[in-house]
């Protein structure tokens, strides 16, 4: 039994995509209860209602924020998460291995379930894809991870959920960028005068199970243009906590 949670359409095009999805669901014979997020019914309330009604699949139809919010409430339950992305990031595509709406509907029909790892922001936040800490000016932050500690100057910290990269390795992926140093005029000029090719070695990529980020001033942690937490934050990996419906691997049988 499927329970569909649709985002409130921001414009006419999204409303037409939602109509198209409904007709596709009917075509593939996977219709179910359809609910829309509204000021009267939040994502959390709708998910709790679906769990109370004992649906075995809740399908999030919408953006990254909706998908992440539904996933947050489904961890450690028997209920599987289905995804039909609308204006979602490429990370969702990578996560479920889907191309378009039709593929998503076919995947829901086939119902191939896998259990994935989630990134858990203490005390009660989860994310499936990617969260960012962005600042216009270069800021110093202190990062503690596993058995390491570093003070680093950054303009952007991207935190990737373990499910995005490697399903077997339960690790959070961290990309730290410093655009100010990368685009430093003096460095560029010096390299040009010396005739040396400028190599971008300012980016840092780290992998860890446990992460603490602290900044002198509280900075927002952003997921899909919405603030989900503020620094200092502690992030851990919760291994194998969410059941998700993903695309079946297609074997290419075309003869050359």
């Amino acid at each position: 039994m499927y329970y569909y949670i649709l985002e409130q359409p921001k414009n006419g095009s999204i409303a037409s995509i939602q109509k198209k999805i409904q007709s596709l669901l009917a075509f593939y014979g996977i219709t179910g209860e359809i609910c829309r997020v509204s000021p009267a019914r939040s994502i959390e309330e709708l998910t709790q209602i679906a769990l109370a009604k004992q649906y075995n699949t809740i399908v999030a139809v919408g953006s990254d924020y909706l998908i992440n919010s539904v996933a947050k409430h489904l961890q450690n339950t028997e209920c599987a998460l289905g995804i039909i992305p609308i204006n979602a990031s490429s990370y969702i595509q990578k996560l479920i291995g889907l191309g378009d709406i039709k593929d998503a509907c076919i995947a829901l029909k086939e119902r191939k379930i896998k259990t994935i790892n989630l990134a858990y922001i203490l005390p009660d936040n989860f994310f499936l894809t990617k969260a960012n800490i962005v600042h216009d000016k270069s800021t110093i932050g202190t990062i503690y991870f596993d058995k390491c500690q570093t003070n680093i100057r950054f303009t952007n910290i991207a935190i990737y959920s373990p499910s995005l990269v490697n399903h077997d390795e339960p690790k959070i992926y961290l990309n730290i960028e410093n655009d100010k140093e990368k685009n430093n005029f003096l460095n560029k000029t010096f390299s040009w005068l010396v005739g040396k090719k400028q190599i971008n070695n300012f980016n840092t990529y780290l992998r860890m199970r446990h992460l603490v980020i602290d900044t002198p001033e509280p900075m927002p942690v952003i997921l899909d243009n919405k603030i989900i937490a503020k620094t200092p934050i502690e992030i851990k990996v919760r291994p194998k906590v969410l059941k998700i419906i993903c695309a079946r691997v297609k074997i290419n049988t075309d003869k050359k």
């Binding site: 979602a88 680093i152 100057r153 995005l164 730290i176 992998r207």
Partner: protein
């Protein structure tokens, strides 16, 4: 439906040139260091220390390429390469070693996993043992010589004492025979 794709995770662990890390840096994948690491670096695959990098602490990996500065024990299970800008202050242990012209290496080196090397080591230990036995023999001989000299000295002293007392001794022959003839 989706926005543009971005790079996720990057090529293994990379420490940027503006970063100073303290602690144990451990990864199952490749590690590239452009910045400074104060502590141990462990990888199940390869470690690359670039020109701008400084590592203070042991490094362990399958293959290691050092173009920067490394202080501490370097253990490469397969191959270790020191490029012309590479500097290593500490002992290295590897199976396959490449040191390019211009590189600096101050410390001990041990080649692992070679039978010939082990044989050589055995030979070296045997030579050492022989040297030790020779030294012991020499010291014994020296001791015996000393004893003989001491005995000679004591006998000469007795001779002089007897001379003073009205007796004197004379050698019967030039040979060093311990026989003396008493003359009045």
């Amino acid at each position: 439906m989706f926005d543009k794709d971005q790079e996720i995770g990057g090529p293994g662990t990379v420490v940027g040139s503006n970063v100073k890390l303290n602690g144990v840096l451990k990864d199952a994948n490749d590690i590239t260091i452009h910045g400074t690491v104060d502590g141990e670096v462990i990888s199940d695959k390869n470690v690359q220390i670039t020109e701008t990098a400084k590592v203070k602490g042991p490094i362990t990996a399958q293959e290691i390429i050092i173009s920067g500065k490394a202080s501490g024990t370097v253990l490469a299970h397969k191959k270790l390469e020191l490029t012309p800008t590479g500097k290593v202050y500490g002992s290295i242990e590897t199976k396959d070693l490449v040191i390019r012209s211009g590189a600096i290496f101050v410390g001990k080196c041990k080649m692992i996993g070679h039978d010939e090397n082990q044989k050589n080591e055995e030979d070296v230990t045997n030579i050492d043992k022989e040297n030790e036995t020779q030294k012991e023999d020499k010291s014994k001989d020296e001791k015996n010589d000393k004893k003989i000299e001491d005995e000679k000295d004591t006998k000469n002293n007795e001779k002089e004492e007897k001379k003073e007392g009205g007796f004197w001794f004379k050698h019967k022959s030039d040979d060093e025979k311990p026989k003396y003839e008493l003359e009045k």
